[in-house]
């Protein structure tokens, strides 16, 4: 999956998200993403990550095998 495709999906699901994505291995398959959104405020970490996974619409664990995820509020 291309990095900009991942960014677009997350932004669709979480419009105010600030997204930083790194292609860890340079192979278009292992990414690290940092997602910052005001909408995460007050949510436990598991829920914050679930919001991102929801935005990715089932691709996580499927076509997108490796995405190291960090979430935060601004």
């Amino acid at each position: 999956m291309a990095a900009d495709e991942i960014v677009a999906l997350i932004r669709d699901g979480i419009p105010d998200a600030e997204i930083e994505i790194t292609d860890l291995a340079g192979d278009g398959d292992h990414y690290a993403a940092k997602v910052i959104s005001e909408s995460f405020r007050g949510l436990p970490r598991v829920r914050q990550h679930q919001r991102v996974y929801e935005a990715l619409g089932g691709r996580m664990g499927g076509v997108l095998h490796a995405l190291q995820l960090t979430t935060a509020t601004p």
Binding site: R45, V46, H49, Q50, Y53, G58, G61, A66, Q68, L69
Partner: protein
Amino acid sequence: MTDDVQARIAETVNAHEVLLFMKGSPLFPQCGFSSRAIAILDHLGVEFGSVDVLQDQGIRQGIKAFSDWPTIPQLYVKGEFVGGSDIMMEMYESGELAELMQKAGVAAKVA
């Protein structure tokens, strides 16, 4: 997804204070993320049970529905889903994971 699998998962989760669903075994993790999760639990020095999802396709799929979490490994403490390896790492580094184990009264591993 059968209810039977979900019941089996719930039973296993409740039977262990600390339980890791992973790919492979603690000695031979079959995936980098599972390996990282094991390293964290080893560093914390807690006793934990593990389930190798590669041995059971029903559990491998069922655990994702159980927690509404798409990936493996998955850590459970006292029946509560804590997170995957990224959350484990974040909580380990901040000291929250050790604190959570302590609050849950999880026994340290006897050397």
